[in-house]
Structure formats: C-alpha cells, structure tokens
C-alpha cells in the first residue's frame, strides 16, 4: 500500500532537495546543472526513490549528496562501471551518472568508451569545466592547448579530447551538449536524455569560476549556438553530428547532436533479464537445473 501511495503522489521540487546544501564555490556552473536535473525529474514525475544518482570524485561528483535520490558517491573515474552494475541488477531504476571532465575523460576514460559501446541505459552528465577544481587547478583532458595551470605553468602542450566526437565514435546512442548558463535548454536535454533508452551522453559547459579564467561564462555566452535553432540540422544524421562536433572557438554548438533509438539497451539485449529485474529473481537454482549442472560432470 505504501508503495502505491508513494508511486502515485505528485512529485515536487522539494522531494529532491538534498540533506545538505552544495558546497560549490559561489557562481559555480554546477548549481545550474543541479537545478536543471531536479526540474527535469519533476517534469518527468519520477519519484525520488526510483532514481539512483551515481558519481565519481571531484567537485561535480559531490552532486549525489546535494539531491535527494538514492545516491552513490563512488571512486574517482569509476561511476560508470558502478552504474552499469546497478542498472543490470535493477533495470527499473532511473540511473543518472554525474561527474567532471577529469573523472570521466581522464581517469575514467576506459569505462567511458566501453559504457557507450555497451549502450547501458543511463544518462551521463559531465560537468565539463576544462580544469581540475577539487585538487585546486590542474590541467584536465579538456583543457585547451596553451592553457596555464598549476600543473602546466608554461602552458598545456597536449591536445584536448573532444568528448562529443569521442562519444559519437564510441557508439553512444544519444549525444548532446548543454551549457549551465542556458537553464531551460539544459533541462530539456536532461529530460530527453533520461527518456532515451540507451546510453545518453550530455556534456555540459559548467564554468569553474575559481580556477579556469579562460573558459568563463563570458567566454562561452557569445559562442554557444543551439543546434535546435537550425531547422536544417537533423540529429539522426551521424555524419552531420560528427561534423558539428568539430566546431570550436567562434561557434560552439550546444543541443542534441545525435540520437538513434533502434539499438537495444544492454539490459534489453540479455535474455536473462527478460523475466524482470534480477533484484526480484528467486535466488535458488531450481532443483532440476542444479541436477543437470552436476550431471554434466559425471
């Protein structure tokens, strides 16, 4: 009975208010992402107990503590691996993975690529600020060439990774980019990403106001152009998406680059899960099946 009541009651913004307030720096882009996620969950009327928010380590990875859902604050770079396990054990859950560019594209790069090719059904939001913030300002995998940080005081000499192109190449079935300075647009992308069956990748420009003086709100604002504003752009065209992903500097596209719905999500592809989530499966192996396992060895 309690379940029915909980599931049918109206989902409100207050349901998602975390036990503590975020300790991000004032003006941090991550506040905007948190608000957009909360708004998206309310718009989609998903009860908080059906959501698991999973992160790695970093400023933005403190996210699960600031939203009232089931949360996991895991190891640096490992959130996607943990999230895959959660989703496969109980695919009725809505799984959100949140983290930063260092967490996802640096230490977690391997899991990032493989989770996309597996098409795990989750939304992965990277709060991309092109810097390591929690460790007080070092170069990240998305820092531009020439950017001066504490770890590269004479300027970065390594080319940054392009998360959108990488996601497209790795087989992500939903690829988008948002900007925490564009709240409504970001909320819409989050809703689409949650609704998408399969791996949804959402790279969000979430400026670090303390350590990144290159990629600021002021720097992004005149450059970001919404793909949705171009009526000729079709997110079903992978080649066009790849082309758009290469744009930078003067014009930086945000919005949905690509989506395809014809690929089964990982949990849909494995017949073991046809009967429903593993969590609800009976733990005992039926006696006749057990007997057949032993007889194979005799």
């Amino acid at each position: 009975m309690a379940t029915v009541l909980a599931d049918t009651k109206h989902v409100a913004m207050t349901d998602f208010k975390g036990k503590v307030d975020p300790d991000w720096c004032p003006g941090c882009g991550d506040f905007g992402v948190l608000a957009a996620v909360q708004k998206a969950l309310v718009d989609l009327q998903i009860p908080n107990h059906n959501v698991v928010t999973i992160s790695g380590i970093g400023c933005s990875s403190n996210f699960p503590g600031f939203i009232n859902t089931y949360g996991m604050h895991t190891l640096h770079g490992r959130a996607l691996a943990v999230a895959t396990g959660v989703k496969l054990a109980n695919h009725d859950l809505t799984v959100l993975v949140t983290g930063g560019d260092g967490d996802g594209f640096g230490i977690g790069g391997n899991h990032f690529v493989h989770s996309m090719r597996r098409n795990v059904d989750l939304l992965y939001i990277v709060m991309d600020n092109q810097i390591y913030g929690l460790t007080t300002g070092q170069t990240s995998p998305t820092s531009r060439i020439g950017m001066k940080t504490k770890s590269m005081p004479f300027g970065n000499i390594e080319a940054p990774v392009n998360p959108i192109s990488l996601a497209l190449a790795a087989g992500a079935t939903f690829v988008a980019r948002g900007f925490s300075g564009e709240q409504k647009h970001l909320t819409e992308l989050i809703k689409q990403g949650i609704r998408h069956k399969g791996f949804s990748f959402l790279d969000v420009f979430s400026p670090c106001v303390t350590y990144n003086h290159d990629n600021t709100y002021q720097w992004f604002r005149p450059r970001v152009k919404k793909l949705e504003d171009d009526p000729s752009y079709s997110p079903s065209d992978w080649m066009a998406a790849m082309g758009k992903s290469l744009l930078w500097d003067d014009e930086i596209p945000i919005g949905k680059f690509f989506e395809r719905s014809d690929v089964p999500a990982l949990h849909e592809a494995e017949p073991v899960l046809n009967a429903g989530p593993l969590l609800h499966a009976t733990s005992r192996i039926p006696a006749e099946v057990a007997r057949s396992f032993v007889e194979e060895l005799m």
Partner: protein, 592 residues
C-alpha cells in the same frame, strides 16, 4: 598406504593431451574411483611441453602423489623428460614409429605400439593417443565397453563415422595390448559410488550459483578464467547476468554496483587483476556493500608465471586497499571446498556488509577432483543479513543508512524502496551518509564511524569456526599449512607416521579472521612445528608471527611454480628432524 594408480600423459600443447585425460577421468569416476588431476602446462597454445597427471583409487585422492604407474609420452621430448622417473612395476606406452625410449629403471615395462600398422595415421592424426588409451585400459584390467561408451559420447557430435573410426582405433590398441603387454599387477577395482569430476574454477562458479549469485563479471586472466567460462555457459539456465568487462577496475566496481542494488555479486581474477581491484575493495568496505572477489593465485610478481601455481598473494589480500576495514579472507582446502566456501563467505559478506575474498590458487582452480554429488549442495543456507527491500516503519526521514549500532551493522536499504533514499559514499560520512570529509570534518564523527565499521571484526570472528588439529595430539611433528596444500600435507603425514614419525596437521581455511588464540592453544603442545607453503618468503609464517608471535621450528617452501608432492614434504621433515636445516626448499623433479 592407500592404493592408487597414476597416469602421466606428456606432449606438446595442441597434440591432444587433454582428450585422453578426459577419457581416463570419465572412465575412472564411472567405475566409482576417486581421482585427482593436475596439468603442468605452459602459456602457449601450440607447442611447448604439457604434462597431465591423473591419479586414481578407491579412496579419496587428494594430490598428484609421488609415483607414476603409466607414462604415455606423445612425443620424444615427453619421453626424455619423464621416463627416468618411472620405477619398478610401472609401464610406458609409446608410439614405436616416432619415439625412441631411453634407459629405463629395472622393472619398468616398455610398451611400444606399432601405430602405423594398427591405425590409418593419414586419416587420424591423434591415432597414437587413442591407441594408447585403449592399450592402457587393457593393462589396467578395464573392459572395453567402458571406453566404447565414453568415445561414443566424446565424438557423437561429429557423427557416426567419426565414432566408429575412433572406437576401431581404440579397440586395436586394446587388443594389441592384450596380446603383447603384461597387465599391471593391480587391476583397477570398481565400486558402487559415482562421482562428479570438476575443476576448482567450476566448483567456485557452481558454488556461486548455489549461493544465489545473480551478477558475475570478469576480465579474462589465467588461472581464473574457468570461472567466467562456466558462468557464461550456464548464465541463462541459472538466471545469472554475466558480463566480460574492459578491465578488473571496471569488474570490481560493476560487481559492487550490482551488489549495492541488492543482488549477490561475484567476480574472479588472479593476482595482477586483483591489484587493479584493490581500490574497489576499499569502496566495498566504506560503502558497506558486500561483494565476493575470488583470487586464483599464480606465480608472481607482475605477469609472473601465468600457468604455474603459488601461494604468494596472501599479503596482497591482507593489505588490499588503504585504510583499516573489516574483511573476510578464506582459502579453500580442496576442489570440493571451492564449492562450499562460496555460500559461506557470501553469508559473512552479506551479514557484515564487507568484502569477502576467496584465496584460491592454480592448483585448485585448474586441477580436477572427483567429488561426491551430495557435496555439491545447491540449497545451502543463505543469510542476506539486515537488508531492506520493501517499505517499512523506519523509512521517511527516520532511516539512517550508517546507523551506529553495537554490532557495527546498519540496516541496508536497496535503491527503489520508497522512504529510504540515502547516499552511500566512498568519502567518510556520518550516520546519514552525509560527507564529513570536507568542510564538515569532525574528529568525533570520524572516530565513531571507524569504530562502528571495525566493530564488525568481532562479529565476523564469532561467525567463523576456529581451525582444528587433525591427527594424533602427541605427534612428533606438526605440519602447518593453509588452503590448497591440505591434501598433500595430509598424505605426507600418513607417510611419515607409517615410517615411524607420527605427524599431525593444522590446516588453515579462514585467514581472516585467523583465530590466533585458538591456534596458539593448539601449537603450544606441539613438539616440532613446520610451516609448509608455496611461496618464497613464508607469507603465512610471517602473518602468523605478526598475529600471535608464534615462531615454528622450521619451514618448507616451494616457489618453482609446481605444487608439492608428498615426498618433498616427507624428506624435508626428516632433514629438519635430523637438524640439517630449518628451511627446506624441495626441488621439483618433473621438469616442464
């Protein structure tokens, strides 16, 4: 002494050493005979040298033994390496067309098979193997129908023509031996018993299925890959989600994710993969999410010797991940125990919400043993601990995931249950799961949370039995081992006792918790204590000393990649009793 019969089959990888081994194993187990098989092989798909030892007998066979009764060399190399080790009463069956025997000891029967005359070798490349199996069984006094039946099963997928060709070749070998070779002095008996023959890897995988594992993932790594293979092959029948993951870091974290969502979750690897999992073990401990990790030890360090056995990972297990946290570490004693130990350690891990580590090794993982099907219990006791999977009275604000309790155990709600939302964190947190590692750092809370988690150590100790001495109390020698050496030490004790040196054995199965007091109580009465282990530095001896201050009279260690044989231990014990040494390192004579 127990009566046993041992066959050694040697050849290059790809020459088909495995198939005759499987055929012998099947026939022996169906005669109601016990058996133990160990394959010494190289990390090579074709070529090299592989030597399979199958030892059988009417009573339990716990190790490969000291003696070969029948040698089947499939090439000259195998003949050269092993013939010299045969003793009076044993025989060597070989292809007379391609292999020349060397000098054999007195009483060794050389049994050349004229392979080209007995079979069409242009059609059947492994004809020599099949002929040798037929000849060998004839000399063991086993009737042909047993072989015919196994060949039928072995080749039926390939069609009737292949079956009848192989049966024909086997028959030719059988008849030729009947006519030309002397039967063994001890015809193999028959009993009413029937056994399953399985590897430790299969046993651990089936033990997982029996324990209710619903999620298994792994990255291939010798010698643990057999667990993945069984799991993958049986996943759909057993209702287990099995995934091959990009690396062992992903493996352990994925397993923890599934466990966190409420299902029993397991993974297996070897030392190198375990090193990558180390940080994940800490995550399991800190989030208090139970996960079971199997480590199939191989000789290290680094890539080490992937196809050879060692007990060299103990300190890695003891020190895996930084910080202090409760853990359970169990080392199965034999292949049957590989099955039993999985449900047991899951109950500990679930109840105490901590990682459970199974410390297996190549000897058990890839060795094979006959096990009474009754011992493969698919309905073991399953205790999930304090797990909340449905809404209850303590939800909605009252619930604290990391509630401080006397036992240190806090009720664990799985995602999806209304009213119990919380965050499980790898950072230090308070009872509510709120991080206290950054601005909220609070020494009082940190101390309380450490103590809460560590209180579970006492509970784990109480839940696991202390080890016991086997054999006479007042023996002259007490041999102390852990895990997979149980069988070989047991046999060494029997031999020593027979030779007038009464010996007993203390075999350790639970490494954590160790029960140091109980061990000291046992050992304080012992006259001469020797710790036997398969590693260089005496990892268990050092651990025992660190926990109990106990120093034994001597040590027997082996780190050449091959397992102990009984005589290695027997001779070392005698050497030490004679005061010649405190540390014996036996040399392995069957060289691969």
């Amino acid at each position: 002494m127990k009566k046993t019969f041992t066959i050694g089959i040697g050849g290059a990888a790809g020459q088909g050493v495995a198939t005759p081994g499987d055929i012998f194993a099947k026939i022996f187990s169906r005669r109601g005979l016990h058996l133990n098989a160990y394959n010494a092989y190289q990390s090579i798909i074709r070529g090299g040298h592989t030597f399979l030892t199958i030892r059988t007998g009417p009573e339990k066979v716990t190790n490969m033994g000291d003696r070969l009764d029948l040698l089947i060399p499939l090439n000259q190399d195998a003949m050269n390496r092993h013939l010299g080790l045969l003793t009076d009463g044993s025989a060597c069956i070989y292809n007379a067309d391609t292999i020349k025997p060397g000098a054999a000891a007195e009483g060794v029967a050389l049994c050349p098979l004229p392979v080209a005359k007995l079979a069409d070798i242009t059609r059947n490349k492994v004809a020599q193997n099949t002929l040798a199996v037929g000849a060998g069984l004839s000399m063991m006094g086993i009737g042909f129908p047993a072989l015919e039946q196994v060949l039928n099963e072995q080749f039926k997928k390939k069609g009737d023509a292949v079956v009848s060709e192989n049966v024909g070749i086997a028959r030719a070998g059988f008849d030729y031996a009947n006519a030309n070779f002397k039967p063994f002095a001890w015809p193999l008996p028959m009993t009413e018993n029937r056994y399953a023959v399985l590897s430790g890897n299969i046993a651990m995988a089936m033990g997982g299925a029996a324990a209710g594992v619903k999620f298994y993932c792994a990255y291939p790594m010798s010698p643990s890959t057999g667990v993945l293979h069984w799991m993958a092959g049986h996943a759909r029948k057993a209702g287990i989600m099995v995934r091959q993951v990009e690396d062992e870091i992903g493996v352990v974290n994925m397993a923890i994710g599934a466990a966190h969502a409420g299902v029993r979750s397991m993974c297996a690897t070897s030392g190198g993969g375990f090193a990558l999992m180390s940080e994940g073990l800490g995550l399991s401990a800190m989030m208090e999410t139970p996960v079971v990790v199997i480590d199939c030890q191989r000789a290290g360090p680094s890539t080490g010797v992937p196809t050879k056995t060692e007990q060299g990972d103990l300190w890695q297990m003891l020190g895996a991940a930084f910080g202090d946290y409760p853990r359970a570490i169990a080392a199965p004693l034999d292949i049957g125990d590989c099955f039993k130990i999985i449900p047991e350690i899951f109950n500990i891990a679930d109840k105490f919400q901590c990682p459970g580590i199974v410390l297996c090794d190549l000897l058990l993982s890839e060795g094979r043993l006959s096990v009474d099907p009754k011992d493969l219990d698919f309905a073991p006791v399953v205790e999930r601990g304090d797990l909340i999977t449905a809404p209850g009275s303590n939800g909605d604000g009252a619930y604290k995931r990391y509630k401080i309790t006397e036992s240190g155990i806090s009720p664990r709600a799985v995602p999806g249950v209304p009213g119990y939302t919380h965050t499980a964190a790898s950072d230090e947190h308070d009872e509510d799961g709120v991080l206290i590692s950054d601005e909220f750092t609070n020494p009082t809370k940190r101390r309380a949370m450490m103590e809460k988690r560590m209180r579970k150590v006492d509970g784990i100790a109480a839940a696991v039995p202390a080890p016991a001495l086997s054999g006479p109390r007042d023996a002259q020698v007490t041999l102390i081992g852990w895990g997979s050496t149980k069988g070989v030490i047991e046999e060494a004790c029997e031999i020593l006792t027979e030779q007038g040196i009464p010996a007993n054995q203390l075999q350790i199965r639970w490494l954590v918790p160790l029960h140091g007091d109980a061990i000291l109580k046992i050992l304080k009465d012992a006259r001469h204590t020797i710790i036997v282990e398969n590693n260089y530095s005496g990892q268990f001896a050092r651990y025992l000393r660190s926990e109990t201050s106990f120093v034994p009279s001597g040590y027997i260690r082996k780190y050449d990649g091959e397992p102990f044989m009984p005589h290695h231990i027997v001779e070392a014990v005698k050497e030490q009793l004679a005061g010649k040494s405190r540390l014996s390192i036996p040399a392995h004579e069957i060289l691969v």
